[in-house]
């Protein structure tokens, strides 16, 4: 077997991890942006967000394992999770380890979400916005391909997509739609549930009368 196989695997899985992490962030932001349609219901986009984030971790594990097994550079398994202790490029590898730890925390708290305090989940989930630029900096700082033409194009597209999404996220903050769309008669779009009609009569609980927003 070509002894460079591990090396190539580490580089390509790193690049794919960046793409998947970027896709995860973009899909995550679609939630608060209220993106969704009859063909792309919100629960499907949320499921894609979760599943692609899990795929990201798989690729990150491949990335860390292959680089640790490759003995051309003295990088260990511990370097994947403990920041700044590596013999090789401790700063840039440390950024990778921090980002990986943050992503693991995001995943674990999200899978336990119905079981833990929602505020705790929310505050940890904000770290997504920290993990991404750190991961990007790690890739640019230590990567072999990241500063080549293809790497720069990929990084540039990822930055552009995330910056745009974050700007939209800041402009369109997560308020109830009533703040943006004054009440108007029944929306033109068919509700997604139309295929499974809900039996009448539907009761409107008094709880809603407390809503003043």
């Amino acid at each position: 077997m070509n002894e460079q196989v591990l090396w190539f695997a580490a580089r390509s899985s790193g690049m794919v991890s960046l793409l998947l992490l970027t896709a995860t962030i973009l899909l995550g932001i679609l939630g608060p942006l209220r993106v969704g349609s009859a063909n792309w219901p919100r629960f499907a986009l949320a499921g894609l967000h979760r599943n692609i984030s899990l795929l990201t971790v798989v690729l990150l594990v491949v990335h860390a394992v292959t680089i640790a097994l490759d003995d051309y550079v003295p990088i260990t398994f511990a370097d994947a999770v403990v920041p700044f202790v590596s013999q090789y490029q401790p700063f840039w590898l440390g950024l990778g380890a921090i980002s990986f730890d943050l992503i693991l925390a995001l995943i674990v708290t999200s899978l336990l979400r119905p079981r833990i305090n929602l505020r705790l989940w929310r505050s940890i989930h904000w770290l997504a916005y920290v993990s991404w630029p750190i991961a990007l900096a790690h890739g640019i700082g230590v990567g072999t391909d990241a500063t080549g033409p293809l790497g720069l194009i990929i990084a540039g597209l990822c930055v552009a997509a995330v910056v745009l999404a974050v700007i939209l996220r800041i402009i369109k903050r997560d308020r109830p739609p009533i703040d943006f769309a004054p009440p108007k008669p029944a929306p033109a779009t068919k509700p997604v549930g139309a295929a499974r009609p809900a039996p009448e009569p539907v009761r409107r609980p008094g709880e809603f009368s407390t809503r003043t927003r």
Partner: protein, 77 residues
């Protein structure tokens, strides 16, 4: 508010109107019991959960972005 209990057959769905952000995922996942008003807030059918909808109800409860949807043993008083 630690762990939310799992929805069971015969229980009643409730929405916390303060935390609900009108994302409408519950109506997508459980149209049999949840409709949306014109602002996107859920309108619940007041019936107890039939057994065949329990799995859908659990998913709707778990997917709500703010965990505003719950199942409760007693109907709204």
């Amino acid at each position: 508010m630690a762990s939310i209990p799992q929805a069971e057959a015969g229980q009643f769905l409730r929405v916390n109107p303060i935390t609900c952000v009108a994302r409408g995922m519950c109506a997508e996942l459980l149209p049999e019991q949840v409709k949306l008003d014109e602002w996107g807030y859920p309108i619940l059918k007041g019936d107890p959960l039939p057994p065949h909808l329990v799995a859908h109800a659990r998913r709707a409860v778990a997917e709500c972005p703010t965990l505003a949807l719950r199942a409760d043993p007693t109907p709204r008083g």
